[in-house]
């Protein structure tokens, strides 16, 4: 039986908003995902600030594959499979550094920063000088950069990063835009959180794509004043007195999704940071700049989203999450945190402390997400459980080609309030790539 034959197993049914539990727990489907999704799609691998100088490198992952992100001696970026072409040993075992070459610790094959096989022990007496060094360089992925984010893709047939992102590109551009929407970049705060999550990799990606429905997950932290607003609530924007209309935007052809909030004119943006004078002052100037740059569109505040398949982003508490597959039952999460590079040090420090106490495995908010995903996965493994699909039909049939403000979602469809539109779009794309629609 073909593991993904739609005739034998309807895995994703976008018309009814149903998603089979099989796609989270089945080992054959997991193996097929590695071929059809992780080997073909663009994957976020890092940020330019990790590899500023020639020779800088940092380890990363593409799906299950360990890769190396390297800036070569001439300044060009490369992404290599971190595996010697001879017998597979990892050629680099340090998380980061600066190098002129990568020498395999097994037999000594040595590669330069462009991935070329530069030296082989016993080339003459062992290989009789017949080894064609030019054919045995490190396996290399395509690489592309967008506003400081670095992406890689194994498949030569996949469109360029820009075309692949399509209309969702603006979400990445907006994410990497500083709060005043002017010049300047985000900088990565040193240290990438990495941890193990006992559930399928899609749980996190799906949650970040557009789940505005899960407030009950955070019933405990919402009783605390976690944010720099000083008011009860986990989000800084919970303190804004004017209530926004949540916007969910899905891009049907790519599976990418975003979500944000549309505020009424004249809303009090600063109440989000009222408890911390340095943040208040910084965002006062920044918001004035943002209004100058964006005009009417400054009323739209992006909250985050997911770039298919496994890169999620959070605006405001500025971070990127990568949901790396590590077996059908395990996800390895990597979390990158950012601050505006030109912000005062006190502002950077307050933002840093807010992201740490909110997000990741020690975050008061996300600790509870991970408990839910863990046990949702576990309760979906059984024979009986697998007969019953997940329900993702909220708002089905009420998608709008144009939202209440037409500039919000060009190229996508919109649903306001709580909705599972984005998750449906995400799984529709999954099913397309898997040949299961």
């Amino acid at each position: 039986m073909d593991p993904i034959d739609p005739g034998t197993r309807p895995l994703v049914d976008p018309q009814r908003g149903l998603v089979s539990r099989e796609i989270f727990v089945d080992a054959q489907l997991y193996a097929a995902e590695q071929e059809r999704i992780f080997a073909t799609q663009w994957l976020f691998v890092g940020h330019v600030s990790q590899v500023r100088r020639p020779g800088d490198f940092v380890v990363s992952r593409m799906g299950e594959e360990p890769v190396l992100l390297v800036r070569d001696v001439d300044g060009a970026l490369h992404v290599f499979l971190n595996s010697c072409r001879h017998r597979g040993m990892q050629v680099c075992r340090y998380d980061q550094g600066n190098a002129t070459e990568f020498a395999c610790p097994y037999h000594g094959w040595t590669f330069d920063t462009k991935g070329r096989l530069a030296a082989v022990p016993a080339l003459r007496e062992g290989y009789f000088s017949e080894l064609e060094l030019a054919h045995w360089g490190l396996v290399e992925a395509r690489v592309a950069e967008l506003k400081g984010s670095i992406w890689a893709c194994w498949d030569a047939a996949t469109p360029s990063l820009d075309d692949w992102l399509g209309d969702a590109r603006i979400w990445i551009e907006e994410f990497f835009t500083v709060p005043d929407a002017g010049a300047g970049e985000l900088e990565l705060i040193a240290g990438v959180q990495k941890w193990t999550l006992p559930c399928n990799w899609k749980f996190g990606a799906e949650n970040f794509s557009g789940d505005n429905y899960h407030n009950v997950s955070h019933a405990s932290v919402d009783q605390l004043a976690l944010s720099p607003s000083g008011k009860t609530g986990r989000h800084q924007y919970d303190a804004i007195p004017q209530k926004p209309v949540l916007q969910n935007i899905a891009y049907a052809s790519t599976g990418h999704c975003g979500r944000g909030a549309l505020y009424p004119p004249g809303f009090d943006f600063l109440s989000a940071y009222a408890a911390v004078p340095q943040l208040h002052a910084y965002y006062q100037r920044a918001y004035a700049g943002r209004q100058t740059q964006l005009g009417e569109q400054a009323r739209f505040v992006p909250h985050g989203g997911t770039i298919f398949p496994n890169m999620s982003f959070s605006n405001g508490r500025t971070s990127i999450a990568l949901w790396h597959p590590a077996g059908p039952e395990t996800c390895e999460v990597w979390r990158f945190y950012f601050v505006p590079e030109h912000a005062p040090e006190a502002v950077k420090d307050h933002l840093r402390r807010y992201v740490i106490r909110y997000q990741g495995p020690s975050g008061l908010t996300e600790e509870d997400d991970m408990e839910n995903w863990n046990l949702a996965h576990r309760a979906s493994r059984g024979t009986i459980a697998r007969r019953h699909p997940y329900h993702m039909a909220m708002g089905l049939g009420h998608e709008m080609a144009v939202g209440s403000e037409p500039w919000i979602a060009r190229g996508g469809t919109v649903m306001e309030g709580v909705s599972e539109q984005n998750q449906r779009g995400y799984y529709r794309r999954w099913a397309q790539l898997m040949g299961a629609l």
Partner: protein, 177 residues
């Protein structure tokens, strides 16, 4: 001459006092007496657990992320620690509802410096967590503490928790270390 006039014996008593502080603290955490645990912390306590990187042995400088500058697992004061305790008491903090069973094993306690108003005390720990039916988690590492000498006993003034993990092997850190 009483025992405490003998410098070696006096030091031994301080070692015992530091050990008892750490054991009492571990007991409070494992019995979920979190408010009482919070009372053992100085109001200006700093609680820091850095990330750990794989770096060359000849250049260990980048092994740990830096306190007050970089990303960490924890880098906070009593305000956030108190929020965590309040969260544990809400009854709807799903990561700890129903509560985990924890066992903090503390050993290798060393009184490194007791010459000032804050003693420097190092210890090693194994943190065992049993959760729901069969979840079993294990973290290991060491701690570098400063214990402040107060008229009514010791208070934790600073803790640096150095875990031995690069990729954290567990889903969350919903406990204290």
């Amino acid at each position: 001459m009483s025992a405490v006039d003998n410098p070696a014996l006096a030091r031994l008593l301080r070692v015992r006092e530091a050990e008892e502080f750490l054991y009492r603290e571990a007991g409070l955490l494992d019995r979920r007496e979190f408010s009482a645990w919070l009372d053992l912390l100085a109001d200006d306590v700093r609680y820091f657990m850095p990330l750990r990187r794989n770096v060359p042995s000849r250049a260990p400088g980048d092994e740990w992320t830096r306190e007050g500058q970089d990303i960490a697992w924890f880098d906070e004061g009593k305000d956030v620690l108190a929020m965590r305790v309040t969260q544990l008491h809400t009854g709807v903090h799903w990561a700890e509802e129903p509560p985990s069973r924890t066992c903090h094993l503390v050993s290798n306690v060393l009184l490194v410096d007791d010459s000032g108003p804050e003693w420097e005390v190092h210890s090693h720990f194994i943190f065992y967590r049993s959760r729901m039916e069969r979840e079993t988690d294990l973290l290991a590492g060491r701690r570098e503490d400063r214990l402040r000498v107060m008229p009514d006993g010791l208070r934790l003034a600073y803790r640096r928790v150095l875990i031995d993990h690069n990729v954290l092997p567990i889903k969350n850190l919903s406990n204290f270390f």
